[in-house]
């Protein structure tokens, strides 16, 4: 019997996801025994996945330019099972925050405005590189995805679990739980009187960070990482994305934030104060999932505004 084959395609990424595969360490030897690795750019010198196709395709990274899109479609055609591998691929990841700006704004900022740039002729990139799309897209904007393996990057243990499931022909799925459900920190009472930025005050390392007023995205984030950040004494930043059936991770977090404040109105911080205590709301609550949120990108109103209508009573 021929071994199942695997191709790993790399789009708009930092390569952390590929390194996570290598991080399987000794388990990698077992995986390589069981699977025929046909294509992975960080390890092998091929240009594309094999024409005859593979059993499983992993795609890491979001789709930012036309080349990415082409490569994604090619991998989809050539794979029986396609896995969105990592937060960038599944939700756009951190690069998805660029969707707060238009493509032109980004180009201008990068090629003209940055302090370290000398570009007196204001030349915007040469045409020989693949043209950028208007936005960064998660892969499911374009192709059908069979499995999602979230995380920035996905934890090696889950990678091994997914591979085992695929080898044994079992379904892979994450439990419908949140990071909080797996978090070992002590949850006592939801009675926050003030939200604070991490590092600006004492942190009790055994107690839930959110209950101490620090932004921890546990309640709005899909479980699966075994709460690796809170366990390592750092708040969850939400890299597993929202739980199933939740569209917008920020909506979930805002919902949670409403209810963890102390009940006694005389002790509760005013709503406006809370807003000030959450600087960069989109960057905090949708750090990995802005490109996969309800709006997916900023609403860019054209600069020439139509005259407002006269109000009638």
């Amino acid at each position: 019997m021929t071994k199942p084959s695997l191709a790993v395609e790399t789009l708009s990424i930092c390569s952390g996801c590929e390194i996570a595969i290598l991080d399987l360490h000794l388990a990698l030897a077992d995986v390589l025994d069981a699977i025929d690795l046909k294509y992975i750019q960080v390890l092998m010198d091929h240009r594309e996945p094999p024409k005859e196709g593979v059993t499983v395709g992993f795609v890491s990274g979001g789709v930012r330019n036309e080349e990415h899109l082409e490569r994604l479609k090619m991998l989809r055609e050539r794979s029986q099972i396609l896995v969105a591998f990592g937060a960038c691929s599944a939700f756009g990841g951190v690069p998805g925050l660029a969707n707060l700006h238009t493509k032109d704004e980004i180009m201008e900022e990068v090629y003209i405005n940055t302090k370290s740039t000398v570009n007196p002729k204001k030349i915007i990139p040469p045409k020989i590189v693949p043209p950028m799309l208007e936005e960064l897209h998660p892969v499911d904007d374009f192709v059908k995805v069979d499995y999602v393996l979230p995380g920035c990057p996905p934890p090696p243990k889950l990678i091994a679990e997914l591979v085992t499931c695929l080898l044994e022909g079992r379904e892979f799925h994450l439990e419908p739980k949140t990071v909080c459900d797996q978090c070992p920190l002590i949850k006592e009472e939801k009675a926050v009187t003030e939200f604070k930025r991490w590092g600006t005050d004492i942190v009790f390392t055994e107690r839930c960070f959110l209950e101490q007023g620090y932004q921890c995205l546990g309640p709005s984030t899909q479980a699966g990482c075994e709460a690796r950040c809170p366990t390592a004494l750092s708040p969850c930043r939400g890299c597993f994305g929202p739980t199933e059936n939740v569209e917008d991770q920020a909506a979930k977090m805002i919902g949670a934030l409403g209810s963890i404040v102390v009940q006694d109105p005389s002790k509760a911080p005013a709503p406006e104060k809370i807003v000030k205590e959450v600087p960069d709301l989109v960057g905090t609550y949708l750090r990995f999932t802005f490109a996969h949120s309800t709006f997916k990108k900023a609403v860019h109103t054209p600069t020439v505004k139509t005259k407002p209508m006269k109000a009638t009573t």
Partner: protein
């Protein structure tokens, strides 16, 4: 271009214990108010999941009004306090992604305040008319 006959579409989430009854009161007392709102009854303003609000705006509602019990009157004690925090954060969210925060409005209206319900609706409709259609509606409302 704003269509001359454009009328704002407003989604109103009204708490059944107060504002929904307030809206009824406005109706039974025959107080006139603009017919722009689709009123959705909820059990408490605190039941309005932030996702509902985002979804309404994404689906091109021009404005979203949340109406609940006055502080101290919420049947679930703290539902309206929670809502006040969520709405403040949601407004900030809208601002950051380039939607006018004024499209989201929170009001406390009791069951006896039919008049206030009507006034609120009038004022909100006017404000939204000044803002124009939801920018996601591509310059014109759907028919």
């Amino acid at each position: 271009m704003t269509n001359k006959n454009w009328e704002p579409k407003i989604v109103c989430f009204a708490c059944r214990w107060c504002s929904y009854a307030g809206a009824d009161m406005a109706g039974t007392s025959r107080i006139q108010y603009p017919a722009n709102a689709r009123v959705i009854r909820v059990n408490c303003s605190g039941r309005v999941d932030p996702q509902f609000i985002l979804r309404a705006l994404k689906l091109k509602a021009d404005g979203v009004l949340i109406a609940g019990c006055h502080f101290g009157d919420c049947h679930y004690i703290s539902g309206n306090y929670q809502t006040s925090r969520r709405v403040a954060l949601l407004k900030e969210y809208l601002k950051e992604i380039g939607l006018e925060p004024e499209r989201l409005r929170l009001e406390w209206i009791s069951a006896a305040e039919g008049h206030k319900f009507a006034e609120t609706m009038k004022a909100f409709v006017n404000e939204i008319k000044l803002l124009g259609p939801n920018p996601l509606a591509n310059g014109g409302p759907e028919k």
